[in-house]
Amino acid sequence: MTAAGDRPTRWIATGLAALAGVGLASVHWLGLVAGAALVALPQRTTARGVAAGVGFGLLVLVATAASLSLAGGLDVALAMTQPLGVAVGVAVVGGAVGGLARGVV
């Protein structure tokens, strides 16, 4: 399923995977792991897959911030120290775990 050797195709696949992943992550926390797995699959190596997964987690954080900002709640959310810490942890760890999927295919 990897797209090794075809850089533009990999980028397109990664972009589409990220798009689908954000959709999945907005429904359930497992969607974040699944999304990270999807963006990892087009990468050349497992290490790059994990990095892409973490990157995807951070992307989901940015999407969350954007969503909160649109709803006028970003400043309050940034004050929620403990929930925010969990969210960042889930994004990074969940992204990394999902990214490991690159190593099993």
Binding site: H28, A71, M80, A87
Partner: protein, 794 residues
């Protein structure tokens, strides 16, 4: 419930995961623009203070929409209050609330609420309450779950009519639930009757009664006491010749921990048309309750073709409780009536049976389970007698009383719901009088001003006439329930009462046409001027004295304006200074250096508790230290297992206690207290009163992002501008309502929307702290949030 709330929380991931986490979802809680309803059309607008303005041609549609707004803005607060009264807090927060849950389960407020709904269901209010609950539950389904539910990882159950009734029980219990009788009996038993009377006297020496005040309420019609078949025995006498028995320290500790705070009070006054600038009456009210985030009150405007009403209600209750409609304005203060009694029993069969007169009866016993999050569930035995709940703890024995029957009017079905509905609909003072006949609880001082120039004052609620045999007796001691002492005729706990043995409505204290009236929880009426036993005690009169002083001056000057009454609500003169002047002067001779200078400054102070002064800071900290010194010295004779501070006298009484209560004497104790106050002020780093006297209004979770910001403010526990920094209480709503057609003014200590993400979460707090107001109009303005459509409005 403070701190470390993440510990017991399950489902971190579903709550906090980025994008999908419920905590983040709550930021977007805009309701759908169109909501189907089975009750007819209605519109819900929010103004720029997040106050819902609801309009409908049908009252059920109005109530459905009000329920929707409450469900949208305060659902967690409603659920938390319901859980407290049902004894279900531990199910979501763990063992910390077990004592509270045990108490509420054993009092069985839930069954009293069921009985109340059984009474209300088939009245005019019944369908409106049901429509309201439907509205709450529709919002619960339509909108994201509030943040707090995500943090505690549970889903709220549907809101029910019994929950509405339970909210009534909660405020009634907060205002009239008191174990003072037991405390005084314990003092009698352990320190002697003279000491008990000195520390907790039944009456305080002042002349600021509500009824009988010269030129204001001195022409009230004293009732003739028709309902008495026998004169009330002397309140100074014990209810029986039995020796006083102290409450078991274990039972004492348990109930002291769950007892409503004694400070719940309020101010309300009205000035009649003859004394105002406009020639129309003006009224004002500010109830003093817990200051919470979100506030204890929810503000709303309801517009119906027959009436338009604005004011505040408790979240979970559909109708405006304090406010104004197009024909008048009203408010409440706590009356302090005695509506609770305690009974002991002769028992047999290992305590399963009790003697009641000539017969032996079995206690009603039922086993209930309290669910506990993160711990084993607990079984609780709910026990009842003919009088109501039976509470017990400790080993008892000859020395202590470990089991007590509790009769409280609120354990019966009551009908405050129709009373409040009637006031919302009222067209004149006569309508209000009629509505108040229904108002079974809590006992309150009701103040009304109508646009027709009328002014009313009345004590509401049911007050029992206690009888032992053929004699009426005061409720100042524990009764022998087996000997049928202190019976309340016509009272049925957990069922419908006839109230036949209670003070008749027409004989409750009232003045149907006062020139002006001032209520601040002081004594309602002198005992010599009223035929019935009304109250075991009343609050300290500092505010009441000051209120009459200023109202008298305003009326003497004439042409009273709404601005005058707003100034009166902002009055910060602390009457405790003059009351404690002899104590402070005693201390003066014992002090030297800077302490002496500081004390002189306090003695020269004008008593105005303003934020920029240093003297009130020293004075209030002195009072705290002096009380602590009294508890250590004067109450050292109490059983060591008791929390002696729960037996401290009020601050009016404390100032009157002399050398015999202190070691070695009062002067040195006061001097030590003043030194201690100075040390605490230095340790706190406070320069002025405002450094210390700051809003500290926190969410039950006590998380910084949910708590309100801190602002310096004025006032104290004893000023009309009421703020009690140590107990987190004060004016929970302020309204000043002129009847001349100009706009009334009001303010909440916080924001109307309980969603932490909302712009208005704490939007009014700074203005509240500064004594400012906002308009209290009843227009249908603001952005249209929801259009409710459908149904036939039946």
């Amino acid at each position: 419930m403070g701190g470390g709330f993440l510990g017991p929380v399950r489902g971190y991931l579903s709550a906090f995961a980025p994008l999908s986490g419920g905590v983040w979802d709550a930021a977007g809680d805009d309701p759908p623009p169109r909501v189907p309803s089975n009750h007819g059309d209605a519109t819900l607008r929010y103004d720029d203070e997040a106050v819902p303005r609801i309009e409908a041609d049908d009252e059920t549609a109005l109530c459905f929409a009000a329920g929707y707004a409450h469900g949208a803005d305060r659902l967690f607060q409603m659920d938390l209050q319901r859980r407290q009264m049902r004894g279900q807090l531990s199910a979501v927060v763990g063992e910390a609330t077990l004592d509270s849950d045990r108490f509420h389960v054993r009092m069985d407020f839930a069954t009293a609420a069921d009985a109340t709904w059984g009474l209300v269901r088939d009245t005019e209010a019944g369908p409106l309450v049901e429509a309201y609950c439907e509205g709450v539950n529709r919002a619960r389904e339509d909108l994201p779950t509030p943040v707090e539910f995500e943090l505690l990882d549970y889903e709220p159950a549907p809101w029910t009519p019994a929950d509405v009734m339970l909210a009534e029980k909660q405020i009634a219990w907060t205002l009239t639930g008191s174990f003072r009788t037991l405390r005084k009996e314990t003092l009698r038993a352990e320190l002697g009757p003279e000491a008990a009377e000195a520390v907790i006297p039944d009456r305080l020496d002042h002349d600021a009664t509500i009824l009988g005040h010269t030129r204001a309420t001195d022409d009230w019609s004293v009732p003739d006491g028709d309902a008495l078949r026998a004169p009330v025995s002397d309140p100074d006498d014990d209810t029986s010749s039995r020796a006083s028995v102290a409450t078991d320290p274990e039972l004492d500790g348990w109930i002291a921990g769950v007892e409503p705070p004694a400070w719940a009070g309020s101010n309300s006054w009205a000035v009649g048309a003859d004394h105002t600038d406009s020639g129309e009456s003006i009224m004002a009210n500010d109830p003093h309750l817990s200051l919470m985030a979100p506030p204890v009150w929810y503000e709303q405007v309801l517009r119906h073709p027959d009436y338009q009403v604005r004011g505040v209600t408790f979240p979970g209750v559909p109708f405006v409780i304090i406010g104004e409609n197009d024909r008048g304005a009203w408010g409440f203060t706590n009356a302090g009536c005695d509506v609770i009694d305690f009974y002991e029993y002769e028992t047999r069969a290992d305590g399963a049976e009790y003697r009641y007169g000539d017969r032996w009866r079995s206690f009603e016993v039922e086993s209930r389970t309290i669910d506990v999050a993160g711990g084993p569930d607990r079984n609780v035995e709910v026990k009842k007698s003919v009088h109501g709940a039976v509470l017990s703890a400790g080993a008892g024995g000859d020395e202590f009383r470990s089991e007590l029957g509790v009769a409280w009017t609120g354990l019966s079905a009551t009908n405050a719901t129709n009373g409040i509905l009637g006031i919302n609909r009222s067209r004149d003072a006569e309508d209000v009088d009629e509505a108040l006949r229904e108002f079974g609880e809590p006992t309150q001082c009701f103040v009304y001003a109508g646009r027709d120039g009328s002014v009313r004052y009345r004590v509401t609620g049911r007050v029992p006439i206690r009888r032992t045999g053929g004699e009426t007796v005061p409720g100042t001691g524990v009764f022998d329930g087996s000997a049928r002492e202190g019976e309340w005729a016509g009272y049925t706990p957990y069922g419908e009462s006839s109230w036949e043995g209670f003070i008749p409505f027409d004989e409750m204290p009232h003045d149907d046409d006062p020139d002006y009236v001032g209520t601040a929880n002081q004594r309602v009426v002198d005992d010599d001027d009223y035929p019935y036993y009304l109250a075991e005690d009343y609050s300290e009169p500092f505010r009441g004295i000051r209120l009459w002083e200023r109202l008298d001056a305003l009326v003497d000057r004439g042409d009273v304006t709404p601005a005058d009454l707003r100034d009166l609500q902002r009055d910060v003169r602390d009457g405790r200074l003059e009351h404690y002047r002899p104590v402070l002067e005693d201390a003066r001779s014992e002090l030297s250096g800077d302490a002496h200078s500081d004390l002189d400054a306090v003695l020269d102070w004008d008593g105005e508790a303003t934020r920029d002064a240093r003297e009130p800071l020293l004075f209030v900290r002195f009072l705290d230290a002096y009380e602590g010194r009294f508890v250590a010295d004067g109450l050292s004779g109490l059983d060591g297992r008791r929390d002696a501070s729960a037996y401290a006298p009020n601050q009016w009484v404390l100032a009157t206690l002399g050398d015999e209560w202190f070691a070695p004497d009062r002067a040195s104790a006061a001097a030590d207290a003043f030194e201690k106050a100075r040390e605490r002020v230095d340790a706190g780093g406070w320069e002025t009163y405002g450094d210390y006297n700051r809003t500290a209004i926190d969410h039950p979770f006590d998380q910084s992002f949910l708590n309100y910001p801190r602002y310096p403010t004025d006032g104290s526990a004893a000023t009309l501008f009421n703020f009690r920094v140590e107990s987190g209480a004060g004016s929970s709503w302020r309204q000043v309502c002129p009847m001349d057609g100009t706009t009334s003014r009001c303010i909440l200590p916080g924001g109307n929307d309980g969603n932490v993400y909302a712009d208005d979460y704490d939007g009014q707090l700074r203005r509240w702290a500064n004594g400012e107001y906002k308009p209290m109009d009843r227009e249908m303005r603001g952005d249209l949030a929801v259009r409710f459509a459908g149904g036939d409005g039946e």
